[in-house]
Symmetry: C2
Subunit: 363 residues, 2 copies
Amino acid sequence: MTNPSLLILPGDGIGQEVMAEVRKVIDWIGAKRGATFDVSEDLVGGAAYDKHGVPLADETMAKAQEVDAVLLGAVGGPAYDDLDFSVKPERGLLRLRKEMDLFANLRPAQCFDALADFSSLKKDLVSGLDIMIVRELTSGVYFGEPRGISEVDGQRVGVNTQRYTEAEIERGARAAFELAMKRDKKLCSMEKANVMESGILWRDVVTEVSKDYPEVELSHMYADNGAMQLVRAPKQFDVIYTDNLFGDILSDCAAMLTGSLGMLPSASLGAPMENGRPKAMYEPVHGSAPDIMGQGKANPCACILSFAMALRYSFDMGEEATRLETAVEKVLADGVRTGDLLNEEGVKPVSTSEMGDAVIAAL
Amino acid sequence: MTNPSLLILPGDGIGQEVMAEVRKVIDWIGAKRGATFDVSEDLVGGAAYDKHGVPLADETMAKAQEVDAVLLGAVGGPAYDDLDFSVKPERGLLRLRKEMDLFANLRPAQCFDALADFSSLKKDLVSGLDIMIVRELTSGVYFGEPRGISEVDGQRVGVNTQRYTEAEIERGARAAFELAMKRDKKLCSMEKANVMESGILWRDVVTEVSKDYPEVELSHMYADNGAMQLVRAPKQFDVIYTDNLFGDILSDCAAMLTGSLGMLPSASLGAPMENGRPKAMYEPVHGSAPDIMGQGKANPCACILSFAMALRYSFDMGEEATRLETAVEKVLADGVRTGDLLNEEGVKPVSTSEMGDAVIAAL
Ligand SMILES: CC(C)[C@H](C(=O)O)[C@@H](O)C(=O)O
Ligand SMILES: CC(C)[C@H](C(=O)O)[C@@H](O)C(=O)O
């Protein structure tokens, strides 16, 4: 049997730094659990643009298609702000999502007990919060055609197309219902069926799929109300299923509620490959944080927890995943903090690498 | 000189009840300030559907075009949930917005001192909060063509089109910059220029318009980050300018932050009419609240404050507007509360009409 394979794409900004800590975890698993990964590394985003003139080289894309899982750091930064749309660092990320067909983006919004005070929200509204947002990731307005800026009657017109097929809505919905079955069996679907026909189809299809999951309590909510309810009483939600664009906004909103933004992982899953594993890419929710890049200040936990999701969803190592998650929680409970997790003066933050070491020590 | 004219469209649910309190304010202004309004009333939403089979009759539309301002209550309710998309109560609202060409939707998100405890957010993050969201209201994905559900290769496909012309972006931007000039001279424009070409055009045009307002400090933010920042530190914002769909979600999110959802008004403004007044419709942010309809429980303040916006933007009665707003604040400070503004057991809420009377008494 061949080793499971992992392609690491650190990307830009703090990507490289947080990835170094994940490598410690990988080494630990190799040494202590006898699971060896074939790890390769490549460029994405601005880093790829600097070398190849594109945010994702074809060779990298080909590699991503072959491995069992991709682990991505972050893309973008001010150095690339003035690039043309077609070669922006983000396009590398979108190409990976689209060509690997990673249709189900899992974004847990979980509030770590030790960090509940960091939330903007009152503690009782968020402590124990544990939502899973499933965002459709390969369709909708991100990819719909026609798109672009053209000149009509002497003025520029910008067009994007929100487009969803039944099949696209359905496969994401199944992923969401499956997750709900393993959780609290509640699913809330969000769209704007009151103003968009694509939202009507969304509601229809999700309702249809729900018949295969009679145990799951399904509700529907307009996305604007969804944003309100997330702020008002986030604990009312278990699994939320929504489209690519609403999911982008609502999952960021939910992430911020937790007070643990620097802690949050994500998984983007596609169809099963020949070996039964889903196509998969894992990445922290935070960005490339160019302001603290290269200073050893980055919090590696989100990336480490993204690797935990990889252990769970790609490598059938749910036990190790839980162990890693527990280690991170323990470290937090012990008061170990990178700078982003501190707001009192006088408390000394640990470095990226000290945080990684602390997690390893707690494993 | 003819009297200023006002068309009242109570709509559904609690619309009728809150409008009765606005009428008291109108009477007060007539009696005490000598300003008489020509007030007419008509149907919209489900109420119009029940009578005419459409959510807005042509005659009502024609009236709305003629008056100086429209004051709308709320539309919709469970009785209409199963209606066909094309006759849903919401379509009445959208028809008014579109045919009156009300391109600038002003949605203040203001935290009333006396209600700061009601926010989900920690008090220091929201007390004194005063944001003005300007949402483009007559274009974007709400109205773009093509749209609809069709059958392609044996499966249904839902399509909506995000479409913005330069001119559409520009006129809303000018409205937003004008407001910023009267406020803290800060404007943040929100889009998804990293994934949508319509967002690139948006950013371009707003930047171009900003040259006419050198005193206003302009910033740009991706809408997902905008949702995060609204939750993290809402007081960083003064005026926000964003598109129809992002504006729908972000303004609801911002409204919920204030803890004063039942208190928030809105104005939707178009181009100046022959008499120099802008085409205008005013409406509370809250919905038709069918659950409390007919029980005298509704909070009329949002509708009263919407009328205050009408005094300011349509009737050149800024002084009276401020007076009305101050009266509402005073009533709150005095502890007068409708049920939606209470969370302690034992405190007795006042009725809709008692709240209206209290505001009049405080004028
Ligand atoms: C970087 C950007 C293209 C991306 C998106 O809009 O999907 C990001 O916001 C995300 O949520 O992963
Ligand atoms: C009722 C609905 C059509 C409307 C919208 O989506 O614009 C509402 O949410 C609003 O914000 O006024």
